[in-house]
């Protein structure tokens, strides 16, 4: 059974919408971390005590989901629709081949471990 590992970098305020969309798609687990970074948005400027400065790294949320390959397109689509605001900085989705998965408690492997 083929598996995919999907990584999405999204706006923090869209996380709840994405989780709901993925739950509806049948995804039953994910990992979320707070991250910072920049893309084409290249940060933004703030003003403190009369002096402008650039915030290079914008706060984002990184979402990681492992799914069966047959599910991958639907999951990517669900994330894309839920995360989209049509504004710069909506984020990116990366899809990787996943060679193995192991459930630690039972020792199950492959798709059974997802």
């Amino acid at each position: 059974m083929q598996m995919k590992y999907i990584i999405a970098i999204v706006k923090p305020q869209k996380l709840d919408d994405i989780r709901d969309a993925l739950t509806r798609t049948g995804v039953n687990g994910m990992t979320v971390s707070d991250v910072k970074g920049f893309g084409r948005q290249k940060g933004h400027t703030e003003v403190y005590r009369g002096a402008e400065y650039t915030v290079d790294f914008v706060p984002k949320v990184k979402l990681e989901v492992a799914v069966e390959s047959s599910q991958a397109a639907a999951v990517v689509d669900a994330i894309r629709v839920a995360a989209k605001t049509d504004r710069i900085g909506d984020g990116k989705i990366f899809v990787l081949e996943l060679s193995e998965a192991v459930r630690i408690r039972t020792g199950e492997t492959g798709a059974a471990a997802l």
């Binding site: 707070d34 910072k36 703030e46 003003v47 403190y48 005590r49 009369g50 002096a51 400065y53």
Partner: protein, 451 residues
Amino acid sequence: MKKNSVMKLAVFAFAALSTISAATAQDAEPVAASDAAAYIFNTVLFLVMGMVVMFMAAGFCMLEAGLVRAKNAATICLKNIALYSVAGLMVWLVGYNLIYGVAEGGLIGKFLWWTPDDAFALKGGTAADAESWYASGSDWYFQMVFVATAASIVSGTLAERIKLWPFLIFTALLTGFIYPIQASWEWGGGVLNAGWYKDAFGAEFSDFAGSTLVHSTGGWAALAGAIALGARKGKYDGGRVHPFPGSSLPLATLGTFILWLGWFGFNGGSQLALGTISDAIDVSKIFVNTNMAACAGVVSAAILTQLVYKKVDLTIVLNGAIGGLVSITAEPLAPAIWQSVLIGAVGGVIVTFAVPVLDKMKIDDVVGAIPAHLLCGIWGTIVVPLSNSEASFLAQLVGIVMIGVFVFAVSLALWFALKLTVGIRASEQDELMGLDKTELGLEAYPEFVSA
């Protein structure tokens, strides 16, 4: 804040004052309190207002803790509680009698520690014969908390890079000697009240609650320290200003509110008496004027930062509140309300424009104490004759210069003496790590993960 001669005036010549106001009020005088009641109320004024001023130390502490980066927050808290304590000890050991032991028209008071002396009132003395009509300890306490306020101003400017112990050594010298000597010139009845001063400059120097004596004095000492110490590492790299945003703006705002509250004690208590109806009225007027000046400082700073930077700058608005308060401190009683609003609003303008100017001069003032306390202190003192017909611009200017030169020169000499002996600046490595870890061996917020 001026004792002895002026106290006598305030307490005993109130009959004359009330006659003036009574002329318009059907020639009646306000009823007088008994001697005992006046003594108790005068004392209560000092004690309660003094407690409120003491709490300003907490205000400065929170303001500064909010405006430094998290890695230096615990150190600034330690400096604030330590400087208050050093000030208390020094004012007892030498400061108080340097302020009030000065000869009439003199330059320097007595080097003598303070002990309470309430024998006169305890042995049945009456107000009419008294030098002063309040418990001596209440007055000592009220003066002490003022000295601590001046020292608090210094810690904010020099935050994030000065070593703890050299800072406290300077604090001891500031609170034990520098502040008391210059304060004696005015509040102790010294040179700024001398007959020749009045003859030469048209009036005695006039500084009701200490725009110059407390706030500019702290500001001058801070400026000298900032020059001796240099800017925080990286602040002005590459000819640009690199802001170091404060760790907690809610904390800074709380600190400003506490200072504002404390200022009612600072200015209101400086009436020095609450034993007559006219004193009660004056203290109330002072509360109103103090409040209006701060309100105007906030609003003018908010409007100006919106216009200049296209966004309202919270920390400059907080400075605007302090700037308004410092501006009204030299004369919080005489102005009409519209004058207080004007005086305070100019304070807000001063801080808005002075903050970037200091940055251009590469003087790194972490919390904006130099604009708010030094510059607004000068402004507030100069503008006294606007509302007080007994003051003169020339006399104000000469007093500002005398105190400014004395405090700045002595402070600068002390800072450089400390710099060349024990050193005043934390090492570059320590500054990068943060003084909390290197000076205290802890973190202010150990459970916050910094990314």
